[in-house]
């Protein structure tokens, strides 16, 4: 092996150790629930808690609804900005990056302040609180979803595809549903999985809006138990890696980039 690649492997190994050591530690710790042996008891306990399924199921539902709302907002917006309002693009990009700048706790306090009293009292019931939660999640995931959609749109020449469809007699709904959406499949899935990962692990919004989500459940568990939170932390990691793996898988080979974007040069 050449000296150069030996060094590369060294740094990769160092980075891997840095990341994997704490994880390994957590994993081993999660196996020690039963005294003096390694077992999956902590995992069994965690999964057998009815609240686990309840909170996880709730978060999954919120994630799916957030994805749908987010798609319905970002895809037409990004499409219209790219097609007709290119000068607005920097403004819109800045807007979508704001959630990075504003901490979630500020966001949720803002939501509570505005929506906890008439005429917009939405914090009173579960149903309306869930709406607030989805709205908050949509904002949190906006940078990722918008970036994914925007990048997806840039890799296809939407202006020419739109004009081609129009010259063949298509109206706007047909263009968006039959030309734009199908060609953004990979980008939309990437955005969706990122949103999913964010919502599943999110704590602040759910806690302050008092919703029975997975994040607060994990936090509560961490205050009372030792091994089960470690087990669930590993499960969280595994889930996130699965999402990322899926994005990777969908991002290579026969997807948008290799498939139809065979235009000239």
């Amino acid at each position: 092996m050449k000296k150069g690649s030996l060094w590369s492997w060294f740094w990769v190994a160092l980075g891997a150790i840095y990341l994997l050591l704490p994880l390994t530690g957590t994993f081993i710790f999660s196996l020690r629930a039963k005294k003096d042996t390694l077992s999956f008891v902590a995992y069994q306990n965690a999964f057998s808690d009815p609240k686990f399924l309840e909170s996880f199921g709730f978060s999954v539902l919120m994630a799916l609804l957030t994805i749908i709302v987010s798609l319905l907002i970002t895809v037409p917006t990004a499409y219209w900005v790219q097609l007709r309002l290119p000068r607005l693009r920097p403004v819109v990009e800045l807007l979508t990056l704001l959630p990075f700048v504003i901490p979630a706790v500020v966001l949720v306090f803002g939501l509570i302040r505005i929506y906890s009293r008439p005429p917009l009292a939405l914090t009173g019931s579960s149903f309306t609180s869930n709406i607030l939660l989805i709205a908050g999640y949509t904002v949190l995931s906006l940078p990722y979803m918008y970036r994914a959609v925007d990048n997806g749109l840039r890799t296809i020449d939407i202006r020419t595809l739109t004009e081609a469809a129009q010259s063949l007699g298509a109206g706007w709904p047909t263009i968006i549903l039959q030309v734009i959406f199908p060609n953004l499949r990979g980008a939309l899935l990437s955005g969706a999985f990122l949103t999913f990962a964010i919502v599943i692990g999110e704590l602040v919004l759910a806690a302050f809006l008092a919703r029975p989500a997975f994040g607060p459940y994990l936090a509560l568990l961490g205050q009372n138990r030792a091994y089960e939170p470690a087990a669930l932390a590993i499960v969280s990691f595994a889930l996130t890696w699965a999402c990322v793996g899926l994005i990777q898988f969908l991002g290579r080979g026969k997807t948008d980039r290799d498939r139809g974007l065979a235009g000239p040069g």
Partner: protein, 356 residues
Amino acid sequence: MTFLELTNIRKDFGPVTAVDAFNLQVTGGEFISFLGPSGCGKTTTLRMIAGFEKPTAGQIKIGNNDVTFAPPNQRNIGMVFQSYALFPNMTVAGNIGFGLKIAGTPQNDIKQRVDEMLALIHLPNFGDRYPYQLSGGQQQRVALARALAIRPQLLLLDEPLSALDAKIRLELRSEIRRIQQELGITTIYVTHDQEEALSLSDRIVVMNKGKVEQVGTPFEIYNYPQTQFVASFVGMLNQLHCTVANAAQGVLLYQNQPINTGAALAYADGTAVNVLLRPEELHFGNGHGDNQLTGRIETVSFLGATVRVQLNIGDTTLTMDVQNERQLELPRAGQTQVVSFPPHACWVMSHNGSGQ
């Protein structure tokens, strides 16, 4: 009978006028090319005919309908783009049938029409392939089939061959013309490649800086250019700065040497004019016409079928194209050479650019 009519079309983008005073009448079934350099307004005009841009002033009529402000999806036009613009998520058959599907055509009719189109473009078994599986030339043929499948009243092509390599370009060029003549469809073709325009068109509209310079058949454009721009843009050109010596007899003076143009001139004696000569009208030796010039050969380029010679005759360098023959003795640089040309090869143009 006029099928497409553009009257006084103007297009402004803010303070910039991209197209001005554009007038054109196209007969049904005609193949018209818009030819000009980048930025001359040819694509903008095409896009106005398609409906993707709205004219600032003027009127566009297709058939007898005023479509000036009609949206593009209501004009029944077929458009072929430089970047093919095939829908990546649909098969070739799906692409070709797209317009018919939107129009609500029954499934069987769509299949029949798609098969017809595939046969027309000589790609009969390609229906199930996706665009990414096709070469550039094949993609452009599918794009053409897609545009024609809906039986449009007008076919618009925006530099469709620019992205293809030279050999494919030649093949596809004749394919396009063959299909256009077979279907008899009125066609507007935008290009900056003069060879394409000259070989394909019934008439050419030469444009420069948003204005029409000349409209005519390829032969007229090449041999009887009406403006300086058309003369120098289309084909190679030699220019001699002359003065009119005897207008009635068509005699000019080039550096105290008489040039006989063979016909009376509509300029006063003493006017400064340019004589335009095409490279292929100049010949070696003194046996090819009254007019003779002597010069020193600067370069000789063997291009295959043509030998291109640069000849320095004093205040200017002439470009000559001599047809290749196997027994041709190639001239050498530095040699003195006499060239001659007949009177009818002279195209006289005034200094401000109008020709006769």
